[in-house]
Symmetry: C2
Subunit: 295 residues, 2 copies
């Protein structure tokens, strides 16, 4: 039996290596990108490059959407030419980071066309995408997920985390933990520096223990070596935290640590020229809070 | 050449398994414990049980102090009978968690008697102590550390992190990161629960990623299964955070996330009956903050 046909919408820094991994696994690919040059780079590999989202999704069993944000994705889904080109029983896999309510709205709308939907945002960055080792958090119906499992396989490790929107909720939870841990590590690094200990030796000593994390090792190193080239720019970390707090407010929840860290990322971006600096740059905000000069 | 003689002061939940691991490695041990019954349990293994700290340290090459806190340790060091029983060139290894300034005061005092000093607090709990897999953060002179390295070997992985007091500073940094990460994980777990996602599946999905940590996996599980039997009681977490903030204030630093989490642990202990609950119980404080009932 021939492998399913997959349409990939969005072949940027993440979408392109994901498409290549699907191709290597034997899937037939139809790709579209708004800036078509980025899609054409894949043509030589045996991918069908399409000039519109409509033509890409026509006849596809799965559509993988990996676009810049929820509004772009919503615009494409709302385009009736696209929606009507989708085959009944096709599955739309929304892998962009969109809001949970946007994911649920997509699901509701596509349901009226008989199209299945999963929200499946990822963590792991461009390195994870290239290595096929993304963490993929999937929300939606369990049986739709089971059927789609082989499609996720070449891209990374997919885990079904709940009903529609849950993948996006998990991504927000992920981003919140990352941001707050950065805040914790910044205070630890500054304390060690001011107290005359060797932060690199301490990071080594703490390896494998309760305080250890990729954030301690990688972002901690960025802080004490003053390397704030992104990586993950602080303006995106701020956007994630705003989305997290919007969602928690909708759920009637107050999340005080996340709010505190959000406010400090906002100050870093707005007042301290931090928007394009790596999110580990919250260390610089902490120094400024302590009226310490750059060194 | 005969292996060095080691005196172990304090054979409680941590000290006893550490002593056993030293014994298995061939060291000759002299142990003392205030409640002598705890020390006598080791007698059958070939350990010399002493009835006073003074008699334990007499003739020892190394003294390992693993007592309940800095004031107990300080009291023993200040006892001239003990100090004068220490041989010149002996090394006092303070493995209790004491304040950095207490560690430096110990070092200064013992120096006048020609006794070396390292501060070497540990992380890893009773499990780590039993397995000989403690993380040991060592402050003090590099050459004293180099000479003492084989003594640490049976107890865990020792890393020299800076001059006297640095081991204790590293331990405080460790405890601060742990406490703040608990605050981050509590908010993530509550968000996932209220948003209808499956927290256990999300913890699985995030394994190995930027948000992952032992805290996410172990303490996150405690939170969503409502298991707050200690483990690490919240009153000790609060004590650690108070010591952290006392030290940072001495250094002229404001650490706003640590302060925020400290205040919430104080509220949990004082107002919400949380003192003897595991430190993952900060999740309950967050629920109370959100006016949610126990479930």
């Amino acid at each position: 039996m021939a492998k399913p046909i997959i349409a990939v919408l969005g072949t940027g820094l993440m979408g392109a290596p994901m498409a290549q991994n699907l191709l290597r696994a034997g899937y037939r690919l139809r790709v579209w990108n708004r800036t078509i040059a980025k899609a054409e780079a894949l043509a030589g590999m045996g991918v069908t490059v399409c000039t519109s989202a409509q033509s890409a999704v026509k006849g596809a069993d799965y559509v993988i959407s990996m676009l810049s944000d929820g509004s772009v994705s919503a615009g494409i889904i709302a385009d009736r030419d696209v929606t009507e080109a989708l085959g009944e029983n096709a599955t739309w896999i929304e892998m962009s980071s969109v809001k949970p309510k946007e994911a649920r709205a997509q699901r509701d709308y596509l349901e009226t066309y008989g199209v299945h939907h999963l929200d499946a945002p990822v963590s792991g960055g461009t390195k994870g995408a290239q290595a096929g080792k993304l963490a993929i958090m999937v929300g939606g119906d369990a049986d739709v997920f089971e059927k789609a499992k082989p499609v996720f396989e070449p891209m990374g490790r997919a885990v079904h985390v709940g009903p529609s929107g849950s993948g996006q909720l998990a991504k927000l939870a992920n981003q919140g933990i990352v941001a707050v841990t950065i805040g914790a590590v910044a205070e630890a690094m500054l304390l060690l520096e001011q107290g005359g200990a060797d932060p690199a030796a301490v990071r080594d000593a703490l390896k494998g223990g309760f305080a250890d994390s990729i954030i301690l090792q990688q972002h901690g190193t960025r802080m004490t070596t003053r390397n704030f080239e992104p990586g993950g720019p602080s303006r995106l970390q701020l956007k994630d935290l705003d989305n997290l707090l919007e969602e928690s407010t909708t759920l009637g929840l107050s999340l005080p640590v996340s709010q505190h860290i959000r406010d400090r990322f906002a100050r870093f971006c707005a007042d301290l020229n931090g928007a394009e600096k790596d999110h580990s740059g919250l260390y610089l905000e902490l120094r400024d809070h302590n009226e310490m000069k750059d060194d």
